[in-house]
Every structure is written in C-alpha cells, then in structure tokens.
Symmetry: C2
Subunit: 506 residues, 2 copies
C-alpha cells in the first residue's frame, strides 16, 4: 500500500486532513492517559474534575469530527485520492468518512452528556454492588439506557436499534448476525459443559502462590510475547486492563492472587491487547486509523494469547519449570495435572472468573438483556429477575444476590451497551485465527514449546495488527482466515481441548 | 466578592466566557497530567508521541484564547460586568483580557514550535550534561534563545526585550525592577556569606538516614501542612516537583538520599506549592483564574514551608523526636546541633543543593546571563566562560566543568528563559509574608512548636491562596503585607537566623 509523506501532501486536502486527524489522535491519546491514570494513580477526590476534563476532550474531538468543514475537507480529499483507491490515503478518507457520518448524526450536546453520566453512575454502582442494592443503582441505569436509546434513535435506518450501538464497538456486526452466531455457540456449549460436569473437578493449584513470583514470571512471559521495558509499563489495578497511550507507550495492569494464577493470565491477556496496538503500522500513527479496528478483534488478540497460547500444553511445557522456580508451591507438579488445574470448567456466577467454555454463556445472557433493554421489551426494574432466570437457563446456577448477579459488571455504569457481545465475538475470532496460524505457520507448536513466541507475533503483525483500522473486521477476518465470522472453530477447539483434558468420549 | 452561578449567567456573554474558560482550564489540566506522567511514569520510548500530544493541546488552547471571536466575547462580557467592577466576573474578564492580548500578539505557528523544541533539546541536554559536552548542546540552546527572542519581538513596546519573557512567569515584574532588588540582595548577602565562612562548618547529620523512615516522617509533616491521602499523591522522581491536576488532585514528588534530609525538605517545598493550588477559592475552578498567580508567588509558598517554617527551631522542636524514632542514626542528637547541620551555609557549585543564603546568588547569575543572551550582548558560544566568571565573582568558587556549570539546570533545555529570577523573587516574598504572619498571627511560634500548622495554613488561604489569579503579584503582596517587593525582610531574616546559629557578631 502506498503511503504519502508530509512533504508530498503539503498544501493538499489530504495533507490538511492528516493535520486534522493528528489533532484528533492526540486528543484520544490524552484521553487514554486520563483514563489509565484514573484507574491506577488518581487520588479519589480527583474524580469529579477528571470527569470534566475527559468530557471536554471528548467534546472537542466530536465537534471537529462532526462539523460541516470536516465534511467538505473529506470531499476534497476523496477527489484527490480517487485515482489510487487502494492507497493508504484513500483508506483513511474511507474510514474517517464513516466516523464523520456517525458523529454528524449525533446532536452536539449528546457526547458531553454521555461522557458525564459515568461520573455520576460509577460511585453509586460501586456502593450498590457492595450492598447488593439494585434499587440504588436503578435510576442511574435507567438514565444510561435512556441516553443509549437516544444515541440509537439518531440512526433510524438500522434494522434494530441495538445495531446502532453495536456498530460503535464492532463495525459491520448486526444484532441479527450476532444472534445467529450466539445460537450456534449456545447449542454447542451447553452439552459440552454438561458432559464435563459428569467428570470430577480437578483440584486447585497448591498455594500460596505469592504475588512477587507471579509478577516476575508474568513479566518474563510478557517480554517473550513482545513487551519491552523501554516502551511498556505493568501496574496493579483492581480490574486488569490495557491502554495504549501512543507509540512506544503501552500500559497493562494486573491483579494478583495467592490462590490462583489469574494475575499471570491477566498479563497474557492484556499484553495481547497491547501487542496489537504496538504492531499497527507506524505509517498510520496520528491518522486515527493507527489503532485496533474493533473491540471484537482486540479481544481475539487478548484471548488468543491468554487461552489458545497461554493455556496450552506447548506453552507450559516451556514455562512450567520456570514458574516452579519462582513459585515453590508448584514444585513437583506434573504438566498434565497443572494443565487440568488451569483449565477447570465449571458454571459459576461471575463472568470475569469464568473459564473458556462457560464465559461465552455469560456474554450471551448480557447480550440478550441489552437488546431487550434497548428495544424496550425489558424494563430496568425487571432486570434482576431476568438476569437470574437467564443464569438458571444458560448455566444452571442460582444467583443468591444482585451483587453476584446483575450488579457485577462495571460496563452498564459506564453506559457501555453494545460492548459485551464483542467479548464472545473475540473468542470466536481467536479460534478462527488460531486455526489459521496452525495451518499457515510451520513449526508453531515447537516454537511455543521452546518459549519462542516470535512466529505467532509475526503472523499476527502481518495479518491482523499491521492494517489498524484500514479494513473492517469482516474484511480483516476474511483476509486473514478466508472465512466470515464462524463459531465452528471455537467449538471444535474447545471439544478437542477438553476432550483430552477431561477424557471425554469423542 | 460576588460570584455568579451557572444559572444566572446562562445566555449571557459572561456565561459563554465561563464555558470557553472551562475548556481552556480542562486543556491545561490534561497538559498537567501529561507532564506529571512524563516525569514519573512514562516509558522512555513514549517521549516523542508525548511531545506531539502536549504540543497539540497547547496549540488548541492558544488558538481558542488568541482568536478574534474570543476578543469579541471579552468585549461583550466587559460590558455586562461594568456595573460591578469589584465582582468576580469583572476580575475574570480583566485577567483573561490580558491573557488574550498576550496570546494574540504571538503568531499562530509559534506556540507549537515552542512546545516542540524541548522534545529535541532535552535528550541532547541530558547527554551533554552527562559528558560535560557544551558544544553538543549549543545548537539547541541557540535555537531556544532564538525562539525566545522571537517571542520577545512580539512585544516591541516593552522597555527591555527580557521584560516580555519575565511577564509570562511573573506578571508585573520588569527587568529594571528585578535588577534593583537583586543588587540590594547581592550587596547584603556577599558580606553575610563571607562572615559565615570565617566560622567552622557544622558537621553533616549522622547517617545513613534511610529512605523509608524519611518518607514516613515527610508524609506526616505533609499531612500536618495540608496533604490528605484522598486528594494528594507523593511519588519519586529524579527532580522533585509539584503538579496540580485539578480539584482534589495535587501531586508532589521527592528524591531520597541516605546522606541528608533533602527528601524531607523537598516534600515540605513541594507541599507548599500544592497547598497553594488546593486552597485557591473553589469558585474560581475551571475559569483559568483558579491557580497560582505567578511563579514567584508560588515559590514564596514552597520556600516559606521549606525554610521559614521547615528549618526553624519551633518546627523541629516538635518534629525532631518523631524523626529520631523513624531515623535511628539521629538518636541522641541535640536540637541545636541538628539545626546547625540542616542550616549549613557554604558556597557550592550546584543551585539545587545550595543553602538559603547562597541560593539567591546562583539565581542572580542566571538572571544576568539570560538578560545578556536575550538582548544579544552575550553569544551562546561564550556562555560557559561567562558562567564560570560569574561563579567566581559571586560565590568565589571555581567551576571545574560545564556539567557542574552552565549545563546543570534543565530550564534552558525547556527554553524557559525568564523563569529563574522568580526563584529569588519568591524567596524575597516568602520573607515578607513570613514577617506579616508573625506580626498578625498571635501564637504562631507556639502552634508550630506543638506541630500545629493550621494558623499558618489559614492565614495563607485568606491572604495569598484564595484569590488565585484575581490580583497581580504586586497587588497581592500589597494586600497581604502592605509592601511592594522588598529584599530587606529576607536579608534581615537571614542575618538574625545565621547570627544566632553561627554566633556572628551583631
């Protein structure tokens, strides 16, 4: 793909567009730092002011992107790039045109209201969860649902109002399409989980595992994947997350526990996100295309490193001896026993603690509830009962209180309706990409067994990371795997993996 | 002072102005966080992108403030506030009008160039200082001096081009005025330092002092002054600094040494800055007036807590026993001996390690050199020699290399010409304010000797902190002390203090 230099575009509409996009990208970078800092460093009393600053930067970016001058500029840049439709500049115009069209539909006062609502809702949600008091959170959730319905109403031409929300997180996805994929997943997962439930539950890892040793091993694994100390940070936070602040500044967080290796798996997960951002082509820096294309594709990257790589026999045949040096309680543990203990499948109440098989069912429940909240068939007041019914139907578990039920996740306090399904979409994609890697990269199993992550990293750079937002998720997936979104590889991967670990009848 | 509410100003020019100022204040808050993070958290490879983001936010703020629409808005707001010239809104219009006039003089491309130059100069300066290689840094310093001369040239109506630079850091100060104050200081300090040099040098504190104990005691002192754990942070950094990120978010840093209590005095100093920002009237939040009025006044606050309070007999009569618990090497040390050891006066090479008496002479040298660089009577190439000559004349010390000479400070790599004199101005003000406090606050010595900083904190809130940028430094000083900037109280304070400690002839 051809890429223009600054000198070549000076005085052109493309050059002017690139200057405007650099401003937008810089505003987003500042917002990313404000967000990272809020979760890791900010003193609690700074929360209100932080909410204002974030809302202001959001608003400034929105005004620039949505304005009529920006539309004119895009028209002029489109003319200039018409003779090279496969070039980078044409791709920029195409993707940013869609961003503009979406932003221009949203009335000017809505972004600031959307940005401010979490500041009010988050502390109430945190207190409500601590007390298991849904009634306290209910008015804030009603407000958030109402705001998202206002957003959806700006896009009257979609098939389902939820499509408009989904599009913001997963371009190209539709409610109907997700429903179909999720139905297949549900049909495949429920009997698999039932079959595993017949087998004895593997014992937990012997502990206490110790935070410092886990951090040390987690960092070594992170470096093998692509983390480097001059361009990354690893910090602690209540909820692990990853944030790209800019070129050469990837930040990941983890939470450490003495009872399991959740901290190490969090590092693998978050480094998967960070590696995606780090490996986007530098030619896209400060264009607003130099970042992950969707939350689903992002989640495919974190889950691939956490699960397909990070819970595999090959990976741990290299790393278990190292972990046993740093974590003495693991001494003498056989690889087979270790793999069973880090691959327990068991229906539980909490999504973020769920295993690979049951996780998807947690997401399906949230998707169904969100769709119903948005199309008005479910009232917020009826959410707890609907949640509890869903958990019983999908996972066969009884929810004892709302803290461990519909108050468990932070997403709705942020107003992020449309986000949850991308977790399951990412899992589906991760299995498709993993199948492609194993088909295309010779010796990948041997490399992982030798502690060498470079073949996987390099394949991902070329086929997934490099293009940033140039291709839509469906197009990116088609180029990388030859397929559309397809749940079959995930179901097959889980059947093979758990079939062996749990000795299930083929 | 009357203050309008949001509801009262809706639809008015004042209301519109306040909205615009909130955006500017939020941009500045984001820049503050970007700067804090750069010095404490950012991975090194993030530096280039960070420079771009900072330059962009600078540019956005400049464009808004300098534009003709903003001038119109100020005109309309001035009309609305004409009937209440002592009200807060009138003060806002008056101060922001000056900010606008200054910004409007500077051509649109200059702020981004000014913001970007440090990113290029800083790594070269750091390497040049490490190698004591002035020639390597010289072109960058020439570029920075040239840029500042361009800024000065935008203000042809000042008496001296350096006035234009000084005004950015210390509104109301002039080159001629500073020269006069500095001449008096020099005339008073040189004989005082010579007299002390006749006396034996007090021994250093017994060590090793230990970082953890110093941090613990430093934090306790900080809390006595006004630090609270829900709205402040204390971190480590190579160079101690303070940064106000917003309401409820004050951040200070320190560096710890086993050989002296420099870390504790850095905490007192930086908490003095943070307290100023914390105690500005909340009614000024997000108006761009809700911050310290000048670097000189800011420095008066840090130095007052570090020196007038923090090196005093009263303060340590309370804190020494506590310090001796946390720092066992101090056990058995008498208060008199302790005070002599933390009040050593000795001409040395490095400004940031200098004592209260010699410090001002370091600043005078930098002021004289900056004025000469800006008016063209000194070429950058001749700076090292001029520096070394000045150190000999002012302090009687021989500079062995440029690392310990003209390369020691980071300010010129940042291009901050006009900044240095504010350090000495702050020292002068701190003594004036301290004399006022001791004259006006009954029982202040007893309170400090009981560990109670509230009387000092409360006086400063009312007389210095609360008004933010409403009054110019000269006006603020006049209201608080009844005086104009006057070096006599500083000279008197130092003569009394060192006279007792060093047993000098009256």
């Amino acid at each position: 793909m051809t890429s223009s230099t600054e000198a070549e575009t000076r005085g052109t509409a493309v050059g002017e567009l690139r200057e405007q996009l650099a401003v937008l990208a810089d505003l987003h970078a500042a917002e990313a730092l404000l967000g990272w800092d809020r979760e890791t460093m900010m003193p609690p009393r700074g929360a209100d002011a932080r909410g204002e600053v974030t809302a202001t930067l959001d608003q400034l970016a929105h005004e620039r992107l949505a304005g009529p001058e920006f539309a004119d500029l895009l028209d002029r840049a489109a003319e200039e790039t018409a003779d090279d439709p496969d070039g980078q500049d044409a791709a920029i115009v195409r993707v940013v045109r869609r961003d503009h069209d979406r932003a221009a539909r949203i009335p000017v006062e809505l972004p600031a209201a959307l940005a401010r609502a979490p500041a009010a809702a988050l502390p109430v949600w945190a207190a409500a969860r601590a007390e298991s008091d849904f009634a306290a959170f209910r008015p804030h959730l009603e407000r958030q649902v109402e705001l998202r319905r206002e957003v959806a109403a700006c896009f009257p031409d979609v098939d389902h109002p939820y499509d408009a929300l989904l599009e913001a997180y997963e371009p190209g996805a539709t409610t109907a399409g997700v429903r179909e994929v999720f139905a297949t997943l549900r049909a495949g997962l429920v009997p698999l989980i039932a079959a595993i439930a017949e087998r004895p539950v593997p014992p937990p890892l012997p502990g206490p595992l110790g935070h410092a040793g886990q951090r040390e091993v987690g960092l070594e694994m992170a470096r093998a994947i692509g983390y480097d100390d001059s361009g990354w940070r690893l910090d602690d936070s209540t909820h692990p997350f990853s944030m790209s602040i800019g070129a050469g500044d990837q930040r990941v967080t983890a939470r450490w526990d003495d009872a399991d290796l959740g901290g190490i798996f969090a590092v693998l997960h978050e480094v998967g996100h960070g590696l995606y951002e780090q490996q986007v082509s530098p030619a896209l820096a400060r264009t607003t295309l130099g970042t992950g294309v969707s939350l689903g594709v992002h989640e495919s990257q974190s889950r691939l490193w956490e699960n397909q790589v990070g819970r595999s026999r090959e990976f741990w045949s290299h790393w278990l001896p190292r972990a046993q040096q740093a974590l003495p309680s693991l001494a003498g543990l056989e690889l087979d026993a270790f793999l069973r203990s880090v691959n327990v499948v068991e229906p539980t109440l909490i999504r973020v603690e769920a295993d690979e098989a049951t996780y998807v069912l947690h997401v399906i429940l949230r998707f169904e509830l969100e769709v119903a909240l948005v199309d008005g068939t479910l009232a917020v007041a009826d959410l707890p009962q609907a949640w509890n019914d869903g958990m019983r139907d999908l996972l066969g578990v009884t929810v004892p209180d709302d803290a461990r039920g519909c108050l468990q996740d932070i997403h709705w306090a942020f107003g992020e309706l449309g986000y949850f399904p991308t977790y399951a979409i990412g899992n589906v994609m991760s299995a498709q990409l993993w199948a492609a890697i194993r088909g295309q990269v010779a010796g990948v199993d041997d490399a992982l067994a030798a502690g060498d992550c470079a073949p996987v990293r390099d394949w991902l750079r070329e086929h997934v990371h490099g293009p940033g937002r140039v291709f839509d998720p469906p197009e990116l997936l088609r180029r990388a795997t030859g397929q559309q979104l397809d749940p079959a590889p995930l179901l097959e991967y889980l059947r093979v993996k758990y079939g062996a670990l749990y000795d299930l009848a083929g």
